[in-house]
């Protein structure tokens, strides 16, 4: 890839920062210039969002509590989905009859709108933490299963010959060849699923009016009360949660699979 002169001279974080400044400036312009004062609640200026959302201790506590709950839901869901998904992927790669039997249902799981089922789950299991986690598991399971399976299957035939020639068994083949080779794919699946589990936690919240409010519940609440500063603060926090998860998984993936070609870009 060619880098222009400006790209070569500036540190890497400068251009995104300029874009950020421009977006904030445009936001202010919209709030103060485009919107009349009585309609300003549609897009409150950034400082008002920060002031009302985060400097008011009551609002801040409410928001952070919601964020914490949603983060717990997303992480629990992701963890369960990761373990289940990797185990299913490995099992399906080991036995083709298992793959043939299960694969259609994972595809179905991927194609049905899980969020539309949330009221049903609430109906069955109540609208508590458990149900929220189930929603996250279901929404984030497929990418992990699919990527694990694909990764395990992607090992070149000549590597298998190499292991066959040493009469290696199924387990050493799995541990020493297939799983390490599949690791970048598994991490890609985890990264996609991590984003999905945040979506599951936040959007699933829209259906949970009872119990402790998650960040999604708060978003819905602020919208209905026209508390637009808090609404923007809540949306911002939910976005940060998704972003944080993405960054963490990207970092882990690069560290763990530095040998893999897709991680090469990050090297000097």
């Amino acid at each position: 890839m060619r880098t222009g002169r400006a790209g070569a001279r500036w540190p890497r974080w400068v251009p995104p920062l300029i874009v950020f400044a421009l977006v904030v400036a445009a936001w202010y312009a919209m709030s103060y210039l485009a919107l009349a004062p009585e309609r300003r609640f549609l897009l409150p200026p950034p400082d008002a969002v920060v002031r009302v959302g985060f400097f008011d201790s009551g609002n801040r506590a409410e928001l952070l509590d919601g964020l914490l709950l949603s983060a717990q839901v997303a992480l629990s869901g992701l963890t369960i989905a990761a373990v289940t998904g990797i185990v299913c992927g490995v099992a399906m790669a080991q036995a083709s009859w298992l793959e043939r039997s299960l694969n259609p249902y994972f595809v179905v799981l991927q194609t049905i709108p899980i969020l539309a089922l949330v009221p049903l789950f609430g109906f069955w299991f109540g609208f508590g933490f458990f149900t929220r986690v189930i929603v996250c598991v279901l929404i984030s399971l497929f990418p992990i299963v699919a990527n694990t399976l694909f990764g395990l299957r992607s090992v070149d035939e000549s590597f298998h010959d190499l292991f066959t020639l040493q009469q290696s068994g199924r387990w050493s083949r799995l541990w020493k060849l297939q799983l390490p080779a599949a690791l970048p794919h598994i991490l890609t699946g985890l990264r996609i699923s991590a984003g999905l589990s945040v979506i599951g936690a936040v959007v699933g919240d829209f259906f949970f009016r009872q119990g402790r409010p998650g960040i999604g519940t708060l978003i819905d609440l602020y919208r209905s009360r026209l508390q637009s500063e808090q609404l923007f603060a809540a949306v911002g926090l939910a976005s940060l949660l998704g972003l944080a998860v993405f960054v963490v998984f990207g970092f882990v993936a690069r560290r763990v699979t530095s040998w893999h070609t897709s991680a090469r870009d990050s090297l000097p």
């Binding site: 070149d156 000549s158 590597f159 292991f163 066959t164 020639l165 040493q166 020493k176 040998w259 893999h260």
Partner: protein, 255 residues
């Protein structure tokens, strides 16, 4: 590969022998047809043939990776090494750890496999790169690692499937010199598949020319040059004369 049972040894004393061996794949492709080849201990046999003539199938049969559908293949080697067309190194392992792999899979002790790996690595001249990852190495160096790995199990029979086919000519000739040096040190029997006539002549005690698919033996040439063979041999009159004969035989194969 199964440990050689005495009953399997047909041609007395041969490390490897094909007796009328043929291979027809399930899709009906006839890859090899009535091949008779013997590899005696300490003999270096090269196989040349047009691409797609079943050379790789020949090696897969020799290694026991696939079974002959006609005739038979007998191996009298306690340990068989196989060097693939690609280096097939595990990218997440260091050079040394890659070379240790076979010992690991065969259940050698950590100490023993490390000792053998270090020995093999210095034998191919990569001692300084023992901790490098494969992708930081050049193509030629990767192939050396692959060779070192094959040597760790002390093979009586080394099977090589166009191992230097993807390398440039200079690197290839250098690796040929090195392979012969290893051959002199380790005294394995070798079956080496290639599509380069000069490589085939330079390495071999005997050359086998295969026909177009389905591969059958078109000609066998004994190579009179003694080992060790100096790199300059490639420019001698006898060498080019023999290479021309093999080429002519091969042309007949391609026609």
């Amino acid at each position: 590969m199964a440990a050689a049972e005495p009953a399997e040894v047909a041609a007395a004393g041969s490390t490897l022998s094909f007796a009328g061996a043929g291979k027809r794949y399930d899709d009906g492709t006839q890859a090899l047809c009535a091949v008779d080849v013997d590899v005696a201990p300490g003999q270096f046999v090269t196989v040349v043939g047009p691409s797609g003539c079943g050379k790789s199938t020949l090696l897969r049969l020799a290694a026991g990776l696939t079974e002959a559908t006609e005739g038979s293949v007998h191996r009298a080697a306690a340990s068989v090494g196989y060097v693939f067309q690609d280096p097939t190194l595990l990218p997440w392992r260091s050079v040394r750890s890659n070379v240790e792999l076979f010992g690991e899979l065969r259940g050698l002790s950590r100490q023993e496999r490390r000792r053998r790996a270090d020995e093999a690595i210095s034998l191919v001249g990569l001692a300084d790169f023992a901790h490098a990852r494969p992708r930081t190495l050049s193509g030629g160096m990767r192939m050396r690692v692959s060779l070192a790995r094959a040597l760790t199990l002390r093979p009586d029979l080394l099977l090589l499937d166009e191992p230097f086919g993807a390398l440039d000519e200079i690197t290839r000739e250098r690796l040929n010199d090195e392979l012969l040096r290893l051959f002199a040190v380790r005294r394995f029997a070798a079956l080496f598949v290639t599509h380069s006539v000069s490589e085939a002549v330079f390495l071999a005690t005997r050359i086998i020319v295969l026909s177009d698919r389905p591969g059958r033996v078109l000609g066998v040439f004994d190579v009179p040059f003694p080992y060790p063979r100096p790199p300059g041999l490639r420019f001698s009159g006898e060498f080019t004369h023999l290479a021309a004969q093999v080429s002519a035989c091969l042309k007949g194969a391609a026609a």
